[in-house]
């Protein structure tokens, strides 16, 4: 869970930098490091689990860092577009990993199995030493984030300002990259090389839906990551049933992505669901207001039961007749419409072209804008078509 927490936080930063897929490439790039270090460590210290896992961390960290460096070089020096550079690094590093792994496969089958557990992640097979090691590292990453928080925030939103204040932008960037790779390496044991990128992206994408603030965002990223880590572990044991334990990584990822998709749909401000509702309500109001205008102008309108009911509920009509409230509302609409026409003509539009725009604006203009328009145009009494403008409540 701690691992997922740190992955979530780091992922948040990467997400904001719009470089989500770098994580994917680096996760793959760390694979040869894992393979090599398992190989070397097992040769040197054949019986010590703890030392081997430290070696794995170091190795993975090293190759992932090399990968990051190569990507950077490819993009800047040879002008390869970033997606191609990512893909290239990802696949070649992984290929080299596979090559080395195949060398070990036949001679040292046990180590090979150990390496494979890093592909899809197997949190279930961890022993106490692992837990302390990874937990400690994850804590370290999180703590470093807390310490560096101010600087990261500054760097992130206003790089130029950060430079002028005298911050060592390059060094912070370096630290950030190191943290990034470290979080990747930590997460690898639980989620696996292949699915790690999801743990970086999904919590961030989900958290972004709920908040606009940087600190809330980062904490939320971490919490979502942690939660899906926990649930994923539970599910992997529950669903698997007796004798078969589903690989943990995929379950964690599936949990995280479902959280993400739910947030994309349901988040109050940015979610699709509420956006659609807002859109629908706005359209409804436009229709109601248009009907109201038609009634006010004395046209015969066949109201269908739905509109009849909803407009009655607003207090605009009663038994097919406009109420005083309805009349006031309708006059206000017409006033907005004609004011806007006057304004457009004032701005130099020909008077026969302004009706359509006003037809839309009458639903949107707020009382504040109305007051300003009125002041600007000097409380006009007539619109460009020589129709009277009803007096507003404010004037």
């Amino acid at each position: 869970m701690l691992m997922c927490f740190s992955a979530g936080i780091v992922g948040g930063l990467i997400f904001l930098q719009r470089r989500s897929l770098v994580g994917e490439a680096l996760a793959h790039a760390s694979y040869p490091g894992v393979v090599l270090s398992v190989f070397v460590a097992s040769l040197l210290f054949p019986f010590s689990e703890a030392i081997v896992s430290v070696f794995v961390l170091v190795g993975a960290f090293a190759t992932a860092f090399i990968g990051l460096f190569v990507i950077d070089r490819l993009e800047k020096k040879i002008q390869i577009s970033s997606d191609a550079a990512l893909c290239f690094v990802l696949s070649t590093f992984f290929g080299i990993g596979v090559l080395i792994a195949s060398r070990i496969q036949t001679t040292h089958a046990l180590w090979y199995r150990q390496i494979q557990s890093f592909l899809f992640g197997q949190a279930a097979t961890m022993v106490d030493a692992h837990i302390y090691l990874y937990g400690g590292l994850a804590l370290f990453v999180s703590l470093l984030f807390v310490v560096l928080y101010r600087r990261l925030e500054l760097l992130h939103f206003d790089r130029e300002f950060a430079r002028t204040v005298g911050m060592n932008v390059k060094r912070i960037h370096g630290i950030l990259h190191a943290l990034f790779v470290l979080a990747l390496v930590i997460g690898m044991r639980s989620v696996g090389v292949i699915l790690l990128s999801a743990m970086l992206i999904a919590p961030a994408a989900a958290a972004r839906q709920w908040t606009q603030r940087f600190d809330h965002f980062l904490i939320l990223c971490g919490v979502i990551g942690m939660g899906s880590g926990f649930l994923g572990n539970v599910f992997s044991v529950k669903i698997g049933g007796e004798g078969l334990v589903l690989p943990t990584g995929p379950m964690i990822v599936l949990t995280a992505t479902s959280v993400c998709i739910l947030s994309l749909l349901l988040a109050p401000k940015r979610g699709v669901f509420f956006r659609l509702i807002r859109l629908w309500r706005f359209q409804l109001r436009c229709k109601q207001e248009n009907l109201l205008k038609a009634l006010y102008k004395g046209r015969r309108v066949a109201l269908n039961p739905f509109f009849h009911f909803s407009m009655q509920a607003k207090g605009w009509i009663k038994g097919g007749e406009l109420t005083t409230e309805g009349i006031r509302e309708a006059e206000n609409l017409i006033r907005l419409h004609r004011l806007w026409e006057v304004y457009l003509v004032h701005m130099g539009q020909p008077s026969d072209r302004v009706h359509r725009s006003a037809e839309e604006m009458e639903h949107i203009l707020t009382p504040e804008i109305e007051a300003e328009l009125n002041a600007l145009l000097g409380s006009p009494k007539e619109d460009p078509h020589a129709q009277p403008i009803p007096r507003g409540e404010s004037t």
Binding site: S91, L99, S102, A198, A202, P250, L254, I261
Partner: protein, 314 residues
């Protein structure tokens, strides 16, 4: 007993070419192909098709979508195997695999589009989410269905040493299809790669072509995954065209050079893998070797460009 048993790197080639000649002149039947030959042929066919598709992908900056495809193909395979296999017998044949390619290609592209446009997520984030969740789903399904966690690894890593003649047939058809698609629509591809807005105003649909390209890619991935696994397929897709791109800026030459690099690398890789087996008793993954060779080629070309060619003026 393979005729290549005990051969080293150098002596591999005379035998290979003489047997290839025999094959073409008819004195050696297709059934008697040695595993090494099948490997060479499959790998180079895969390389050819992926070089064709990969060049276009790189020019259109869509390689990350290809990456996501290479993951989601697993789900496609699983779903179509579940749909079409009757009576609990998992049979994987040509039609099923093609259906899988179709399913996963469509699914990936459409879902990514949906997340990006419909739910307004950043493009790279939506790519990342789609492929990793689909891949995770694929792995879970495989594990539940076969009660075995090993298959996932096989799909990811590929196993060039378990190839047989059927894979050759498939690789051949896919390569043929890809070349036809590229040759027939060469002008259209060129237009869409370099000036999409002109293409649009001339009445082509860039989105339709994108989808078409994705379908081609997924077909290629399907033909490749048994030989090299889905991830190394990516190296084939990106490596040769990138290397070729260093040397040329002509689309036709780019296609040919990258095909050449790909098939050359696979030939040498098979020979080298045989060499390691004979001389050092080491069995190495042929696919891994091929990728390593592709990487070396890239570095080599980089050197050539740096030291021998004058930089192109911007």
């Amino acid at each position: 007993m393979s005729p290549y048993f005990g051969r080293d790197f150098i002596s591999f080639f005379p035998l290979f070419f003489s047997r290839l000649f025999q094959l073409l002149s008819g004195s050696l039947s297709w059934k008697d192909l040695a595993p090494d030959e099948i490997q060479v042929l499959v790998l180079s066919l895969v390389c050819i098709s992926s070089a064709l598709v990969g060049s276009l992908l790189i020019l259109k900056k869509m390689t990350m979508l290809a990456n996501s495809l290479s993951h989601t193909i697993l789900l496609g395979i699983v779903i179509s195997a579940l749909l079409f296999s009757s009576g609990g017998v998992l049979s994987i044949n040509f039609e099923i695999l093609m259906a899988a390619a179709l399913i996963s290609g469509l699914l990936t592209t459409l879902l990514t589009q949906l997340l990006h446009k419909g739910l307004r997520l950043q493009e790279d984030a939506s790519i990342g989410i789609v492929f990793s969740s689909l891949f995770a789903l694929g792995i879970v399904l495989v594990t539940l269905y076969t009660r075995n966690t090993h298959i996932g690894t096989e799909v990811v890593m590929g196993n060039a040493d378990a190839l047989h003649a059927n894979d050759l047939k498939m690789a051949f058809w896919v390569a043929l299809g890809n070349s036809l698609a590229v040759i027939l629509f060469f002008k259209e591809w060129k237009l869409i790669c370099f000036d999409p807005s002109l293409g649009k105003s001339l009445g082509f649909r860039p989105t339709a072509f994108n989808l078409f390209l994705m379908l081609l890619t997924s077909a290629t991935a399907i033909s490749a995954f048994r030989a090299v696994g889905v991830l190394l397929f990516l190296a084939f897709l990106v490596g040769p065209p990138l290397s070729a791109r260093l040397l040329t800026s002509n689309l036709k030459r780019l296609l040919f050079v990258s095909m050449g690099i790909g098939s050359g690398c696979s030939l040498f890789a098979v020979a080298a893998s045989r060499h390691f087996l004979t001389v050092y008793q080491m069995s190495l993954s042929t696919a891994g070797l091929t990728v390593a060779l592709v990487a070396i080629t890239f570095v080599l070309f980089l050197g050539i460009k740096h030291w021998f060619l004058k930089p192109i003026r911007p």
